[in-house]
Amino acid sequence: MPDKGLGQLGDGLLFSAVVVYALAMLGYAAEQATVGARRRVTSVRAASQVLVGSGGSVEVPAETVTTVAPSRAGRAAFVLTCGGWLVHLSSIVMRGFAAHRVPWGNMYEFSSAVAFVAVTAFLGMVVRGRIERGLGAFVMLPVVLYLGLASSLLYTAAGPLVPALNSYWIKIHVAAAILASGSFLLSGVVALLYLLRQRYDRIGRAARFPVTLGAQLPSAAALDRMSYAVIAFAFPVWTFAVIAGAIWAESAWGRYWGWDPKETWSFITWVLYAGYLHARATAGWKGRKAAWVAVAAAVALVIDYYVVNIFVVGLHSYA
């Protein structure tokens, strides 16, 4: 039987994690507000020709590399994010102990795990120098909103699984789906920031809020690389998750694929990300169009989890 005390402890820890993330978000925002004063142009790369695969060469516009002196608020925000991450991790572990099973058996737990992956991916990429810490505000805002919504609307007390979910496949399939989804959502945020930055670059001083936020962001090229790196990681994981899901469906329901709404939306998501990868490889589709595809794919993913689970009738509706 589920352990009530541990379950409540887990819920409390998740709530604390949200509070700490929110504080971190404020710290990042404070850092952003003063970014102009600390900005330094450190080097300028001249316009250069870069070779492309099939059609000769393209002009790459001059790229100014600017660095921003670190601020105390930013550093504090980063430490807070790491602290929140630890609290978040312990809340998930506590859930697992409370329910005596993997802590991703319903939508509430699932959402918490997806947000956890997004934060982990963000922190990991910051540490490896692949993403800028300054994006923290833009990452923590959706994470806080998402966790807040998930724990109020989708709250489920710790309990056992329904029999259809009771299989070792839940460890494999759902874990892969969570890993991919958290990363995809992060890439969706970065793709939106790319579009913002790109628009800012195009209209410059005439920009109004929210396009003015673009001034604080890394260069469009850097954002584009970041979102590609995240998607290139998440796509094989998602592919694996979908295949593992099909194998599970075969052992539970006797068919690999039945175009159940959940399966349909996973398929749409998958095809859109395949489209994104193709788009990046196709001349004329790089950049803005590819970023819109990444955003559309992330929307399909959200539909897959929330709209389908809550509003559309199907075998998977395990809310």
């Binding site: 099939s54 060469s57 056992p160 295949i243 939306w265 095809v271 859109l272 389908v308 009738v313």
Partner: protein, 514 residues
């Protein structure tokens, strides 16, 4: 850009952009059409179309999954509903337009796989391309001078490039690695085709049948034993694996709030002339016999009834399968009995495992487990319509030629109780058995699908994580005896990581002669 540089920088078998055909080329338009179809741009377009075409299937009810909801939807939307039906919006994944898109996509895929595979095989056998004239124009490059002869420098460079495929031409070195990226990419795309072949195989030769089995009974895997079958177009009944399954016991456990915890069908199965063996058939734990898999799909209750004639002779003694209607297993039952004197009785009602009655005397069930079972029935007498020879559903009662007993008053029976009907015949509710709904599938494509799945995931990993890159080294000794070394490099993806790798390589080469 020189031809040579162009060749040197091609690190992919990606189809080139489509060019206009030469004038006077009669096959030109055809060739152009084919090149268009197999271009990256078309593949991209078709992928988006495929995603878009699947969207209605993700929102609207689909006939294949839920025909009842489709019928409701069409009824409540009138002309619009019928129009949508004509557009095949309720059969999206079997529709003409969806099929057209994925077939075109796969034609495009196959069409671009052949030239790509040929190009890649050639690249695998080819030596890394010649050193371009100007290494400075590559994305990363470096140059320095050292003391010593050029060929010694090239030897150093060669040892720094361990693990690379290296080609030496005089005092020039071309190196390349990461061929597996393209190999993986091709494996991935080929596996997509294999997956489609597997799906086609199943839709031609597969079989699916469902059967409801009550505790103490069984079935054998032959066509006539199933309640419902879905054989594929080319399926032949003789390919059904011969075996029998007997349901010994069915167990379900529930949490106090009624949520199901476990389902478990204890069966005994045997192959033709084989020794019987027990098996625990559960959700996620099918019984595998050769290519046939037997699944536990659903379950329900089957109250055991005995029907006696006026003179007390037992006419019928059997469990009657009732169909669950809600999560608490309120189930509908139909019983048809023909007494010896020609009198026929029909019963219709509900079985409730944990019976509750509300203020208006309506029965319901408050828990799915067997706590206070009751069988509540209304009886009819008259003509059941079973003598005409037309097949009838055992779950439906046609009362058009019948008269309600007791003006249609319902009678609630608890286990052991008997209802004596007007005229003297009687119905006894003895106890309660359970039934399991089993599904047998035979899928000849399982191995093909497994191969495709491994190819898809493995191919993708290689395609996205292996980095294809080239490095060139040129050394020239001048009149003063010093050697100038030029190094340049190019990567197809992840320029940042390549820059780091390149810097380390240069470091290696330089330190050898420091």
């Amino acid at each position: 850009m020189t031809e040579q540089l162009d060749e040197a920088t091609r690190l992919t078998t990606q189809p080139k952009p489509v060019e206009q055909p030469r004038r006077g080329d009669l096959l030109g338009p055809l060739r152009l059409g084919w090149r268009q179809l197999t271009s990256m741009r078309t593949a991209l377009l078709l992928l988006f179309l495929l995603a878009l075409a699947a969207v209605p299937g993700g929102f609207l009810p689909q006939r294949k999954i839920n025909p009842i909801r489709v019928a409701d939807y069409i009824r409540s939307h009138g002309a619009l509903g019928r129009f949508m039906d004509r557009l095949q919006l309720f059969d999206v994944f079997a529709s003409a337009w969806f099929s057209a898109i994925y077939l075109l996509l796969f034609v495009s895929l196959v069409g671009c796989l052949f030239p790509r595979t040929r190009l890649h095989l050639r690249a695998l056998r080819a030596r890394p391309p010649k050193v371009p004239k100007t290494l400075k124009r590559l994305p990363v490059s470096d140059t320095w001078t050292v003391q010593g002869p050029a060929d010694a420098v090239i030897d150093d460079a060669r040892s720094a490039l361990r693990g690379w495929r290296v080609e030496r031409r005089g005092n020039e070195l071309s190196a390349e690695r990461g061929y597996l990226r393209e190999t993986g990419n091709l494996v991935f795309h080929v596996s997509m085709v294999v997956l489609l072949v597997g799906i086609a195989l199943n839709s031609f030769y597969g079989f699916k049948g469902t059967v409801l089995v009550i505790e103490g009974r069984g079935f054998s895997n032959t066509l006539s034993q199933f309640d419902n079958t879905q054989p594929a177009k080319r399926f032949s009944p003789s390919s059904l694996v011969p075996f029998t399954v007997h349901l010994d016991r069915f167990n379900a456990t529930y949490a106090p709030d009624g949520k199901a915890l476990t389902f478990d069908a204890e069966v005994t199965w045997s192959k033709e002339n084989g020794t019987p063996a027990p098996y625990d058939l559960r959700v996620n734990h099918p019984l595998v016999v050769g290519t046939a898999k037997t699944y536990l799909l659903g379950h329900g209750y089957a109250p055991h009834v005995v029907f006696r004639d006026v003179d007390g002779k037992v006419i019928d003694d059997r469990p009657v399968a009732c169909l669950p209607q809600d999560p608490q297993f309120l189930s509908t039952c139909v019983i048809k009995e023909a007494a010896t004197k020609g009198q026929q009785f029909g019963f219709r009602g509900v079985f409730t495992p944990t019976t509750v009655t509300d203020a208006t005397n309506r029965v319901g069930s408050s828990y799915p487990g067997l706590r206070r079972p009751a069988l509540t029935l209304v009886a009819w007498t008259g003509d059941l319509g079973i003598d005409g020879g037309t097949p009838q559903s055992i779950y439906a009662l046609d009362t058009t030629a019948m008269k309600a007993v007791d003006n249609g008053a319902a009678k609630a029976l608890q286990p052991g109780e008997t209802w004596v009907l007007p005229g003297g015949a009687s119905l006894t509710y003895v106890d309660t058995a359970q039934w399991a709904n089993l599904q047998v599938t035979q899928d000849p494509s399982r191995l093909v699908m497994l191969v495709a799945a491994i190819g898809i995931v493995g191919g993708l990993l290689l395609s996205l994580f292996v980095r294809r890159r080239r490095v060139w080294v040129r050394a020239g000794t001048g009149q003063d005896g010093t050697t100038t070394v030029e190094v340049g490099g190019l990567a197809r993806t992840d320029p940042d990581r390549f820059a780091t790798e390149f810097a380390a390589l240069v470091q290696d080469m330089r330190s050898a002669r420091a």
